[in-house]
């Protein structure tokens, strides 16, 4: 039965998550040099173009077909949105799912597909931060298209689609593994293939406009309400819990990051404030509907501190993760997924599980398995895709184009003029 309150919430939640991709575009675009602004914006906006269409044609079906099969990938039942209509539906009723009743939607099935579409757009788009300033546009297009089908759709099936990780008992409220570990691991793979930006790390590459980054962070923060609280698929207490957790963790993430930044570098920075908030948001994502009380404060603080430290790794190991997708999304996603094994409590969500804090170690173990599985799968397949593309068409722009910048070389445009 369709509930109009739930439908109202999911309608706007879907729009909110869609709005996150422009937010992400600006969060990143502010950090690049002025010759690469449009290159960054374009990659993100193009993800909104290509991936939505791929999703409704085949992606959704591969991710959510055969719902609750406990398996590896969906089927083609929903190819071209076949069988995806305006009525509510029950998914996976006959499967392994605990109560034998599957997931009963109180919103139109089509809305579920649209909501998931916005996740399928932003997840690959996260990668653009790692590859900034050197990914050839044509190669990028092929990469994210292939990645959606070969990496995102299966992983979404494992976790959100009632696949093997869901069956195992791993939890992921809104995508700690599916979104953040997944995109973060892929980022690491592809920057290894692309190589470092010319001049990195010697040359100074200041953010060309931190206000863009800040407005992007504001939009992300706003949209994350839809991302996490929308993942309750209803306007109920769990959604409220998720909203509360999300906002509080973002705040605590900012505080954590600024604290260590202040200690290490002597000044709290605006970029640090934005980065810390995002780190908190990343880490709370898997936890959003499963924890409560002061847990989001601890999770956020931890994320701010750990991710700040993690972004230094690239200098140690020499991979050029331009805007720290690995440091923030991979590490923050891992941290959040594991902390869920600590802080989860059925007090806040009876359909969830109890974590370490409630005396149970099982969840933490499952979280570790899920995290590692997604990390390894995404890293390996992404590496293969990137390598193949590199062989076929050179994944990276040539040196002159990189010097001129992506805006002119890839898109024949200048970001700013008189």
């Amino acid at each position: 039965m369709i509930d109009r309150g739930d439908t109202a919430w999911l309608l706007i939640a879907t729009a909110l998550v869609l709005f996150m991709t422009p937010g992400l575009a600006f969060f990143y675009a502010g950090m690049v040099r002025s010759k690469n602004v449009l290159g960054m914006l374009m990659q993100n906006f193009f993800a909104m173009g290509l991936l939505a269409v791929l999703w409704v044609v085949i992606g959704f079906s591969l991710a959510f077909g055969n719902f609750g099969d406990g398996g590896w990938i969906g089927n083609l039942d929903y190819f071209g949105m076949a069988n995806v209509g305006q009525t509510a539906t029950t998914l996976g009723a006959g499967g392994w799912m605990a109560d034998g009743k599957g997931m009963t939607l109180t919103i139109p099935f089509l809305l579920f597909a649209a909501f998931q579409m916005t996740f399928a757009i932003i997840t690959p788009a996260l990668i653009t931060g790692a590859t900034a300033d050197r990914f050839k546009f044509k190669a990028y297009v092929v990469f994210i298209g292939a990645w959606l089908i070969l990496v995102y759709a299966p992983v979404a099936h494992w976790v959100f689609g009632g696949g093997w990780l869901a069956k195992l008992g791993a939890l992921d409220f809104a995508g700690g593994a599916v979104v953040h570990i997944n995109a973060g691991a892929a980022s690491l793979a592809i920057v290894l293939v692309l190589g470092k930006r010319l001049g990195w790390p010697k040359e100074q590459m200041h953010p060309h406009s931190l206000p863009w980054t800040l407005i992007g962070a504001g939009i992300l923060w706003f949209g994350w309400a839809g991302f996490n609280a929308g993942s309750a698929l209803a306007a109920d207490g769990i959604a409220v819990q998720a909203l509360y957790n999300t906002f509080v963790a973002a705040s605590a993430g900012m505080l954590g990051w600024l604290l260590v930044e202040r200690m290490k570098d002597g000044k709290p920075t605006t970029l640090g404030a934005a980065s810390g908030a995002v780190a908190g948001l990343v880490a709370i994502t898997p936890n959003a509907g499963y924890v409560g009380g002061m847990a989001p404060v601890f999770i956020g603080l931890a994320a701010g501190i750990v991710c700040f430290l993690a972004i230094q790794l690239k200098f140690r190991f020499g991979y050029d993760d331009s805007l720290d997708v690995v440091g923030v999304h991979l590490v923050g996603g891992l941290l959040g997924s594991l902390l869920l094994g600590v802080f989860a409590s059925k007090v806040y969500n009876p359909a969830g599980a109890d974590g370490l804090i409630e005396g149970d170690l099982t969840l933490l173990k499952n979280q570790a398995i899920a995290s590692i599985s997604v990390l390894v799968f995404s890293f390996v397949v992404s590496l293969i895709i990137a390598k193949v593309i590199d062989l076929l068409m050179h994944a990276r722009v040539d040196e002159t184009d990189e010097e001129i910048g992506l805006d002119l070389s890839q898109h024949a445009e200048a970001a700013y003029s008189d």
Binding site: E261, K267, L271, G272, I311
Partner: protein, 112 residues
Amino acid sequence: MKLITAIIKPHKLDDVKDALKVAGVQGMTVTEVKGFGQQRGHTEIYRGAEYQVDLLPKTRLDMVVRPEDVGQVTGVLVEAARTGKIGDGKIWVTEVDQLIRIRTGELDADAT
């Protein structure tokens, strides 16, 4: 004619402009520039990476004046632009063969 070029601190521009007007300077051209010299720069921090920035914002003034006015104008300039702290800037004077006012074609002293 002589061309006087001055590099000054940006926040001194208003004072300098006013003083020059009083001293009879009729026109000048102002450019935003960056300067490098003895004045220490500052440190910028982006995600834990520290950058030493040694180019500082300065303002450049160019004005063509009659040779006999050079002494007075540079005097006024020095006085108005000085804060006494490092980085106050420089003034240099070069010889101009010819000055033309585009609107009228007037030359040299008539063109200032």
